[in-house]
Symmetry: C2
Subunit: 260 residues, 2 copies
């Protein structure tokens, strides 16, 4: 089993939680890939460099200065510090952006109503699963930054970490059994957003339709569930959504929401 595990920005922002997460990640036996998000540090360093976040219609834009910033912070600072700490814990981590080995190719998002700038949408067959498998077979643990590779321009693009994780899991599911795990600050998909204990333990095709119809699943959770369903339809065995502090329980099916 290959575990593709995504850790969101809020996991990175809390040193104590991050430490526990990295220890649990290291302890997880077998093949695994870590995908990390951004975190507050990118905004902080952006402020120091006087890079002001750009928005159009409420959507964040990756202008040239922001691409330079995230290349430094995601590809350098966050990725390399995670790799160094994982190595010290005994995990043979190897940091990658989509450009390294051209493992994750993307197209610059076409300009329609909004010009998102240097934002990358992963190309069809953009993930080089064979190269990731080579690294896994050689005993490396890939640590993927949320940066994709633009072969048309020989440059990098900013890509959401959830998408990187999903696309990596889908491509590798063609080569081996894969589970995709999203770690964040909640205990799972909640039936009542105000109640952290209202975790829906299992979502399958049958109850998913009901949960959508009766309004239990709503708002930002709908696209997450739809992405999970797309991953499963592409061959991923299971998608798990849960708390970063519960990684071993998530893998064991004792915590979080299991989507099958």
């Amino acid at each position: 089993m290959l575990y593709v595990i995504k850790a969101g920005g809020n996991v990175l922002d809390d040193p104590q939680q991050l430490e526990g997460f990295l220890e649990a990640f290291t302890a997880l036996p077998g093949a695994k890939i870590l995908v990390h998000g951004g975190g507050k540090i990118a905004s902080e360093i952006g402020l120091q460099m006087q890079i002001t976040p750009q928005y159009v219609n409420g959507r964040r834009i990756t202008d040239a200065a922001t691409l330079q910033l995230v290349t430094m912070v995601y590809g350098g600072l966050i990725n390399k510090n995670l790799v160094a700490r994982l190595q010290q814990l005994g995990c043979n981590a190897l940091g990658l952006t989509g450009a390294d080995g051209a493992v994750m190719k993307a197209n610059k998002r076409p300009v329609r109503e909004v010009d998102y700038g240097y934002a990358g949408d992963i190309s069809a067959d953009g993930v080089d699963g064979a190269k990731l498998q080579q690294l896994l077979d050689a005993g490396f643990v890939p640590v993927l930054a949320p940066l994709s590779y633009d072969p048309a321009n020989g440059s990098l693009l900013n890509t959401n970490a959830d998408t990187i994780a999903q696309e990596a899991a889908k491509a590798l599911a063609k080569l081996m059994p894969v589970q995709l795990i999203y770690c964040f600050e909640k205990n799972g998909v909640l039936s009542d957003v105000a109640d952290d204990h209202s975790v829906i333990p299992l979502i399958n095709a049958a109850n998913e339709a009901l949960l959508k119809a009766d309004g239990t699943l709503q708002g930002g959770m709908i696209p997450k569930i739809d992405n999970a369903r797309a991953a499963i339809n592409a061959g991923v065995q299971k998608v798990i959504i849960g708390h970063a502090g519960q990684l071993d329980a998530l893998v064991a099916g004792k915590s979080g929401t299991q989507i099958i």
Copy 2:
């Protein structure tokens, strides 16, 4: 033959020269490793972030802010942009710091007269030649940033790119035939520093002693030659020093200084 090729900061600072160098590097057949230095961009971004270079007795100090800066700029911005451009040229580049795969372990330089801060001296047997060989065998072209891995602290250290190149070449010379090539802005080791055409084409053990004795080799060139000699004594076949714009001629022995 494995070529370990170091490109200095001045190569990176000149877009046109860099482009020609990367094309020649891509065209070079066989196994190869690129080691890159820093370049002016680190200082420029340091200025933007109001990180003032620290010196003690004229020696640059890597304080905590500078380590963060070089991790971002060397490990992120420079390394990933080189990798992306090499990929576009058809070279299967994979960017690494010393922490990735723990390929380059170092000790924080001990404090004696000067506290150099987060500067790393490569440990005895600090280079994991077997892991680099795994990557080479899998068809990757490692691109090494001048950052080493401190296993005692699970963190990164700042290490001179010349040293990274030399240590990688020495370790890999135990596993395969290796040539080490230093590319910079001069045509080679000059007998007259004021005359760019006064390249000494060959330095061997016999004429090296004479060139030192008669003062032809002096100043900053002496440690470079001594380091080259140390690499050769450790099994590196040949060290070549020459102009970044002449990579193919350097490899062919038609340009630069060959040290044997």
